[in-house]
């Protein structure tokens, strides 16, 4: 094994010594409590390639790092020698507004990318959590998505080309910078949600969407989640075209309403529907929604507009619950099972003595459970029980459950990904083909890949 000094020196030769951090400074880049031996910040795709080629030659365990917002996703690393920080890869590579495509280096903050595109009335149709801090690459590598996925799809649906640094340092491209292309295999999709285990994304090209001329939200309270579910089912069976349909449990509704200064009666579930279109069509759909919700038991409807509307969705995306010991679970279930999944979460949290907040993309069947505990000693076991129970439920309901974020003590007790089913052997083989030495985030992906 390379000595510390030589490791740092070699990395310094590639990226410049001022872009290598080791010693105490490296502890800010710990993954699940494991501190890397060095952190390095390549300044170009070529430097990134050289770093990975070096890691490959020395069989060093590598973890790519965007801004670290979702670094808690995944299993505890099998080994970790270097963290490769991508924050210096933050350039706009090209952007042709009239073609509605844009290419970014992955270290760019999504927020900054959106600001550039926003000047031309366009955006990457992604509104994931960690709105202000997430990087383009981190969002892609973790397949992070948000409420408007209902209307626009997820990263897989509009990532059209990639440049990737492979485990041996080779740089390849996949896809093409045009909105429609079937030349060869769809390599970009392979890297979405792969946590950098098949290669490190360096550049990403997106098909862009126009920002809707107007968007408003209808927020309404329900006393029971079951009646809310019925209204959502009617809404999704209607000809309304919502951008987002979010179900908030009692805790999330209370907190989020509070954050944007809306009156909210404790104990009510929330339903928030965002409508985006030309202004007259927004208003027409909100009117239809009001009737639909009113007939279905909705109480105290609010129409949110302007800053309140934006602030509300920001709060939904960034919703977290509790400080200190905290775990976030993501369940994906059939649309008809969302309210049951909410009830199940409530039951499980009560039983485990945990506090709970849920935001659910009810039109996509995706729930995010935030759990926190007041008694640190029982927390890991409580969360582990919650994971097992909810996973059993989601599997019965044809879905899955992944731990997005949890302390290592929880990870020691549960499989954060859950089973990958009969496709797992293909996934293993894919990993073997693309990273035979297992240097890229070893042990962190599904099934310990």
């Amino acid at each position: 094994m390379l000595s510390e000094d030589i490791l740092i020196q070699r990395l310094g030769t590639i990226v410049g010594p001022e872009h290598v951090v080791a010693g105490p400074g490296a502890s800010a880049y710990a993954v699940d409590g494991r501190i890397p031996r060095a952190v390095t910040f390549p300044g170009s795709v070529e430097e990134l390639s050289a770093v990975i080629a070096f890691a490959s030659a020395e069989r060093l365990g590598v973890a790519p790092w965007g801004s670290g917002t979702k670094i808690a996703l995944g299993g505890v690393p099998e080994r970790l020698d270097i963290v490769v920080g991508l924050s210096r890869l933050n350039e706009l590579v090209d952007y042709v507004p009239e073609d509605m495509t844009a290419t970014f280096q992955v270290g760019m903050l999504l927020k900054d990318a959106q600001a550039i595109l926003g000047q031309r009335g366009q955006w990457i149709a992604l509104d994931p959590p960690y709105t202000d801090r997430a990087t383009v690459g981190g969002v892609l590598a973790t397949n992070s998505s948000g409420p408007r996925r209902l209307r626009y799809g997820a990263a897989r649906d509009f990532l059209i080309a990639t440049r990737v640094v492979h485990a041996d340092g080779k740089i390849t491209k996949g896809g093409a910078k045009v909105v429609k292309n079937v030349t060869g295999y769809d390599i970009p999709k392979m890297h979405v949600g792969a946590l950098g285990t098949l290669g490190i994304l360096a550049e990403a090209t997106f098909r862009l969407y126009p920002i809707a001329p107007a968007e408003k939200t209808y927020l309404v309270a329900f006393s029971a989640v079951e009646s809310e579910q019925r209204v959502i089912a009617q809404l999704l069976d209607s000809s309304l075209v919502p951008n987002a349909v979010e179900l908030l449990d009692r805790e999330a509704a209370r907190q989020i309403a509070g954050q944007v200064g809306l009156p909210w009666q404790a104990g009510h579930y929330g339903l928030a529907v965002a409508i985006g279109s030309v202004p007259e069509a927004v208003d027409a759909q909100i009117a239809a929604l009001r009737t639909l919700c009113g007939n279905g038991g909705g109480l105290h409807g609010h129409v949110l507009d302007g800053d309140t509307h934006h602030g509300f969705w920001r709060a939904v995306r960034n919703f977290t619950f509790g400080d200190g010991q905290r775990a976030v679970l993501k369940a994906s279930v059939l649309l008809a099972k969302v309210s049951e999944a909410v009830r199940k979460g409530e039951e499980v949290a009560t039983r485990a003595g945990l506090r709970l907040g849920i935001v659910a993309e009810a039109g996509s069947g995706i729930l995010r459970y935030s759990l926190c505990g007041d008694r640190p000693e029982g927390f890991p076991q409580g969360v582990a029980e919650a994971v097992n129970t909810l996973r059993a439920f989601t599997r019965e309901a044809g879905g899955s459950l992944v731990v997005l974020e949890a302390p290592p003590e929880v990870k020691a007790r549960v499989d954060v990904w859950g089973p990958a089913g009969s496709a797992f052997s293909l996934m293993q083989r894919l990993k073997e083909q693309f990273d035979p030495q297992r240097i890229l985030n070893p042990g962190r992906f599904v099934g310990g890949l």
Binding site: V96, E98, D99, M100, T101, Q122, R156, V164, H166, I171, T172, K173, A176, V178, V179, K180, N181, V182, T183, G184, Y185, D186, I187, M190, G193, Y209, P210, I211, P213, L236, D237, S239, V241, S277, V278, E280, A281, A284, K330, S332, L334, L335, G365, G398, G399, S400, G418, P419, A420, G421, S422, A423, F424, S425, L426, M427, R429, L430, F434, V446
Partner: protein, 513 residues
Amino acid sequence: MIRETRGFPSPFTPFKEVPPGNAKAAENPMLKDKARIVRELEKIIGPNGVICEEDELRVYDTDGLTIFKAMPDVVVLPSSAEQVAEVVKVCHRETIPFVARGSGTGLSGGALPLEGGVLIGLNRVNRILEVDYENKRAVVEPGVINVWLTNAIAPRGYYYAPDPASQIACSIGGNVAENSGGVRTPKYGVTTNHILGLEIVLPDGEVVELGGKTLDTPGYDLVGVFVGSEGTFGIATKVIARIMKKPEAVKTLMAVFENLEDASNAVSGIVAAGIVPVSLEMMDNNAIQAVEKGVGAGYPLDAGAVLVVEVDGPRAEVEALVHPITEVCKKNRVREVRVAKDDAERLLLWKGRKAAFAAMGQISPDYYVQDAVIPRTKLPQIMAYISELSKKYGLRVANVFHAGDGNLHPLILYDSRNEGELHKAEEMGSEIMKACIGMGGSITGEHGVGREKREYMPLMYTEDDLEAMKNVKRVFNPDGVLNPGKIFPTGAKDVKAGPLGQRGIVEKVLGHS
């Protein structure tokens, strides 16, 4: 043994193509042990699902792109996923090359058995297994015809969005293999955006489930990787698709322009105005001539170009979009904008577009279609270039294409009875492709690489890029017995690029025989 021939009337002697280094396929056991293997296949499927008479096999020797032909040794027509898996196991055990085929409407030679062997026809595996309105999912078998699904769910106000032009004939399994597009892609995307899960039979006969009814199943997005793999990764035996609620309103407009350039600029203008139409289709004068002779859709015969624009959604939105679209057209010197008043008018406008390929027979005995893509802003440039090429080669071109996503379909018109015209058409096609790549585009937007464009892959991808793709293929299809000879350049020295090179080989073989 002779397998692949050109589709034009032979004096040519057919020849067998074996990619270099594929010794296994060259020792195709079908050749020496056919009777035994046929008996075994009959045991799985029953005698009326196995075809090995040459005149019946001939039905399967080409697909929608008739310039390539390749004869299978045997065709099997299983009627269940289980039978498919059993057949695949036999092929795997015996190392017999095999290929799956849906309705045979593919336009890149993707379903051709280039090395002979077993062709698995999936038309009988054609049940709609489940429609789950509550969860917006349908589960279908691969042989289900695209439009059957929409027809089945229409009474409840639902539809399946991807609608390739061949939707009354093409199968959903084929759509999955090719990642088919259609005319709704600017707003609703292509097949891959609508497929959530698959059951596949791997080339060794193992049955695996990818994805599911819910989103984001843990692990790699193998559904995303499989869709569009052109039948080289496995055979899909179940497809879980997203179904959508029909929009409240639809409006279809026809805009008539004096020339292609104005029409192209209008396309860019509509996109730049922040409008996402469902469809944005263009036809040039040659296409208009053909369509009017064929089906009489009411396009003005003297127009330089016609745009068909469709928007859908909530009624208020659709009403509001007609004006800005019309304004953009006016800015680009539109002669006339006609908004379909009712469904009958709307369908008539579409009838012309959808029948365009078929109508080409009205103005030319043969055509050769390209499928390249360019960034949308390059439309005026590429149209001008194609028209130059048309003059240079002395061949007419009819342009009928998906302007909204920059996906060209230049139909190069030729007459195969005229010595050398196909040759010229192919050469011109390859020049168009190269120009599109030069503008930052792609060689195929929806038809696939298949047999046809495999030698063009290096235009777009480096050796390392292709190696990454081959690595994925090795995961699914390590022995290469499933659908050999597709997508990747063969690199053989005597093979020039594409169909043209094909002809080169034929001539060479003839020369030596």
